[in-house]
């Protein structure tokens, strides 16, 4: 109930961002499907984005980053789109060559 009657501060946003980040990291670590790993990356980027926007918000903090936070968030969104396109192309190529999308099978380099 305390949360409902108190105004929101930057830390609230940071806790949500931390949750998204950790979910993304766990997703990247545990999923065996390459597309699941990609989804984990999207979650991580979104958690970071949430922090950028929270620090740039005048509503949440008086001496905020200003426009920098929102601009950084926009660049992150665009770069995430680029990254998803390339990663998807690689995943599809891998699927074509190996008939599998399991990242455990990707051991051609014998690493």
């Amino acid at each position: 109930m305390d949360l409902l009657t108190q105004p929101v501060s930057v830390s609230h946003y940071m806790v949500v961002g931390a949750m998204l980040f950790v979910c993304g990291v766990i997703c990247m670590a545990t999923k065996r499907n390459a597309l699941g790993v990609l989804m984990g990356i999207e979650l991580v980027l979104n958690g970071a984005n949430l922090n950028f926007v929270a620090f740039g918000s005048r509503i949440l903090r008086n001496d905020s980053l200003g426009m920098d936070g929102q601009l950084m968030a926009l660049f992150v969104i665009v770069l995430a789109a680029a990254e998803a396109a390339v990663a998807l192309a690689i995943a599809l190529n891998f699927y074509n060559n190996h008939a599998s999308i399991d990242v455990d099978q990707a051991d051609d380099l014998k690493g």
């Binding site: 940071m14 950790v22 766990i26 920098d68 192309a89 690689i90 699927y95």
Partner: protein, 207 residues
């Protein structure tokens, strides 16, 4: 009585935060890749709601259009193109779950502790009602900042020269251009990588 004390901004923040976190957890714990894509869509859509609540309307709209409308559609295409029965639902071993829970729990505790440690971040902004009304031309300011002019750099320019660089003065023209060219190159490269190669894929089945 209680109803009158509710801050609606906080209420909607709580609603969207719970949606975001809940569906992010659903992405982690679901083993079906089609459901994961759907849960991710809801989680990122709710995150766009959080952006709106922070006063970043343009970023929230872009989150909807680029992330939910573009990137996730791309991901769902990837899921459909690789949707073989074996790969729809891939189970993770129990040992890996334990390790990941240990790692993730530790990381989460560390991040939350860091978030709650600084007192300036904990205290809400008390003059936020004036701000919400004065800053409505959000996308115009962003458009100006990627071209030549920073609308929000005015108060800091009153500081005497030679002091530490104040935030909110640099213009994002060069990063914007770099990102534009980068996006073009990346999309051409992705199209080149993903094109159908009939000869090699036929050989790969025997190899």
């Amino acid at each position: 009585m209680l109803f009158a004390a509710i801050q609606w901004h906080s209420f909607f923040f709580l609603l969207f935060a719970l949606l975001t976190c809940g569906f992010a957890l659903a992405v982690v714990f679901s083993s079906n890749v089609v459901r994961m894509a759907f849960f991710l869509t809801i989680s990122l859509g709710a995150a766009a709601g959080l952006f709106f609540l922070a006063g970043a309307e343009f970023v929230g709209a872009m989150q909807f259009m680029i992330y939910v409308g573009g990137t996730l559609v791309l991901l769902i295409f990837g899921v459909m193109l690789t949707a073989h029965e074996r790969f729809i639902s891939m189970k993770t071993r129990a040992g890996e779950w334990v390790l990941a829970a240990f790692l993730g729990g530790g990381l989460f505790l560390l991040l939350v502790r860091a978030a709650l440690m600084v007192p300036q971040w904990n205290s809400p902004n008390l003059q936020r009602d004036q701000v919400a009304q004065s800053e409505v031309h959000d996308s115009a300011a962003i458009g100006a900042a990627v071209s030549a002019y920073r609308a929000d750099g005015l108060p800091s320019s009153a500081a005497p020269a030679g002091t530490a660089a104040s935030p909110g003065k640099s213009v994002y023209l060069l990063p914007f251009e770099i990102v534009s060219v980068h996006l073009l190159v990346v999309l051409i490269g992705a199209g080149y990588l993903a094109r159908a190669k009939k000869r090699t894929s036929a050989n790969a089945w025997q190899a």
